[in-house]
Symmetry: C2
Subunit: 241 residues, 2 copies
């Protein structure tokens, strides 16, 4: 049994210009790992219709799920919904259920649901709305693409809404072992260890701290007992001093 695969598409000039540091990829990566969905790749594209549409198509064909962040607000640079509709060849228009959600939200806060805000009720035909408990304006799922806001608090709430509806696989469990030797000193033995454990993903991450070189070794796999057993052997191979 293989876990489902996923891709993330981060949309926004502000990430690529360095104005904003993305945090949604890291959040999603951790959430998917816990859910047993394998995040296989991620892309960041600009607010450019051709780039967004091409990336959505490519990722949607290659993976079980695609998660996007960014570009679904009320301003001129929020073009994600239109691009998703185009990628799937469906129409897009203001939808009554999305409009009702926004109307109720702005009525409560004494604000006007003006033309700009109404843009956020534009939903591609056939999409299912994603609940936004933070600021009301919904995301949506169309086919295997889940379209969410870029603002981290909203993105994170929408991820929770979407993941509750998806079936994951066996969550990957991981264990780390910290060795106070440089990567170059553990590499040969680690290669043999990796070859002896083909069912595990084995990572090696060097660090340099307070004048000392060290390496974090990480074992990852779907079977907790197998990871535990391998960790005992790894610890024996690289005893902590």
């Amino acid at each position: 049994m293989t876990n489902p695969t996923a891709a993330m598409l981060v949309i926004g000039d502000e990430i690529l210009s360095g104005r904003t540091r993305d945090s949604n990829l890291h959040f999603l990566a951790q959430a998917l790992t816990r859910k047993g969905i394998n995040l296989a790749e991620a892309r960041v594209v600009a607010d450019d219709p051709a780039a967004i549409t091409a990336a959505v198509r490519a990722l949607s064909e290659a993976h079980d799920h695609v998660f996007t962040s960014g570009g679904i607000g009320p301003t001129h640079d929020d073009i994600t919904a239109e691009c998703i509709a185009k990628a799937f060849g469906v129409a897009i228009s203001v939808r009554d259920d999305a409009r009702a959600i926004l109307q109720a939200h702005y009525d409560r806060s004494g604000q006007e649901l003006n033309q700009a805000r109404l843009r956020m009720a534009r939903i591609p035909d056939g999409a299912a709305l994603i609940d936004n408990p933070v600021s009301a304006a919904p995301g949506f799922s169309l086919g295997n693409v889940h379209v969410m806001a870029g603002v981290p608090a909203v993105f994170e709430a929408m991820v929770a809404s979407v993941l509750a509806t998806l079936t994951g696989g066996a969550p990957l469990v991981s264990q780390s072992w910290r060795v106070m030797r440089g990567e170059g000193e553990v590499a040969t033995a680690l290669t043999a260890f990796a070859e002896a454990h083909p069912d595990l993903s084995i990572g090696s991450y060097p660090f340099y701290k307070d004048g000392v070189y060290g390496t974090n070794l990480v074992l990852r796999g779907p079977d907790p007992a197998a990871v535990d057993a391998a960790m005992v052997r790894l610890a024996a191979l690289f005893p902590q001093k």
Copy 2:
């Protein structure tokens, strides 16, 4: 005159599993913006030869420069150099200049240049070395692809080495204007403003802080005088209260 374009390729299971939060994309984005090189897209792929090779080929064809991070250390999961060689159809082997750099480094520190560490001297044919003032093991440039380490301190030093050799364009300058109104209230006027300033990139970034909605408006363009002049008009359009 159009600025050169670039792409970034982040390589590593640890980013996609959520174990590690990438910081190299944000660093590179800021450095390229200062240099007048337009970072047009970024991708994150796993330690998977087919994925790395395909991404390198696609990005190398589409952009003037490609910057990669990760996968050039001494362990079994460090496969980037082999994949780059394969993507370009060239051979790879231990090269004398790279070996000499490593030999001198390990001689100085009283460590052995063992087989594992010697992997870091494997350089594709025709590549130029990238200096690594932090931990010696070099990166390399092959064609328009610049291959660098994933450890942030090393990556950042290598970026400085590479960018010194590249010709950029006019650095994009940007100015921000903070409006204490929600995005939905500024959107209509902002759209008209954007249409009146087709030479500028105009971004709108909502925030919510201490119970108040606000929007950061960002003007970006290659001509500082044009950005200054537009900022005066923007400030008049959305006076700060």
